[in-house]
Subunit: 209 residues, 2 copies
């Protein structure tokens, strides 16, 4: 998730370890990453854990630091631009707006066992924006559940693929149409889904394309 | 909200205009700012609108751009680190965590006429983190309403004043105690309020102090 121009800024003599995770193979690698941070630090090394986005928003930063704290290893945290902010800016979709949305909610779309264990009732409230991180696989289920729980079938939805990169693609539609539109577009992860009236503002504010 | 070291990076021959807003005097200045952006751009100037945080999360960026779009003025948007990410990092409070919170919601705490027109029912759901922007004045009301709507009186709360700056102050308590604790501390705006089980992680992860 970290681009080459950013990696090129790392000092030349640093040892680089790629701990990139595959979407369907999460659990073991995360524990291994936590252990590796502790092990390397205990060897006296100065360790930088570089992440895309913000470490404290679906970034597992809390878990990694928890283990460092347990091991008595000092650390610092540098905040980052979370995917929702980056994608929203480059897609021309304000996440909040006085006229349309007074709150914004970030949810992980990485649904456990593809089930519907989310508080769907909560999500259908007006004047808020919903942002699903990693929701591509779950998109048909997410749309279906939101409609079933009372959200309008016409609610605008945007799916942003590889947001903020030169390969960014944005597909917009409604709760009813988005799954079909995405299926016929050539879309790949990572993706971010924005649901709410603010998506309509993209018609005016899409400055990138 | 933008610090001097950042302002010092602005090119020396740029004309700087301070449009900083007072908390209780919002409406007119915002329209004036929108107009000024259009006027200056129409004079052929290259205009940078510099904001603290992210322009699309309670940043009024959408409104400013709306007016630029209406006037046919081209623009770009650069995302920023929103206050929730910055304050969370420097207070040692992960906004999401596998064990405590699978979603995070950003809400403006700048309550209209100090009334309770917020969907309080929604906020009391488990396993989510609530972040109120600009909630210092509304804090007693926010705590009271959340308790009335069923949130535990023991729910951990953190109030972060001047977060990410050298003057950062963090006060932690519970829904029941926080208003009293804040009143007796020397706290000033801007503030951010984080409510949720994740606040407890600060005991371990507070790396700054």
């Amino acid at each position: 998730l970290v681009s080459k121009p950013v990696l090129d800024m790392v000092r030349a003599d640093a040892e680089k370890i790629d701990v990139g995770k595959q979407r369907c193979n999460h659990t073991l690698p995360q524990q291994k990453i936590n252990d590796m941070l502790v092990t390397l630090a205990k060897q006296g090394k100065r360790v930088l854990r570089l992440k895309g986005g913000d470490p404290f928003i679906f970034g597992r930063g809390g878990e990694e630091l928890d283990q460092l704290a347990e091991a008595g290893i000092p650390f610092q945290v540098v905040p980052g631009i979370t995917a929702a902010s980056g994608c929203a800016s480059y897609a021309g979709i304000p996440l909040t707006h006085r006229d349309y949305s007074q709150s914004v909610k970030f949810i992980t779309g990485h649904l456990k066992n593809n089930t519907c264990e989310l508080p769907w009732d909560e999500f259908v409230h007006l004047n808020q924006t919903l942002v699903f991180y990693m929701g591509l696989t779950g998109l048909p289920l997410i749309s279906e559940q939101l409609i079933q729980h009372g959200m309008s079938v016409d609610m605008p939805v945007a799916l942003i693929s590889k947001g903020t990169t030169p390969e960014q693609k944005v597909v917009t539609g409604t709760l009813m149409t988005i799954s079909g539109l995405v299926a016929s577009a050539d879309i790949s992860a990572p993706t971010l889904i924005i649901i709410g009236e603010v998506v309509k503002l993209r018609e005016k504010l899409n400055w990138l394309e």
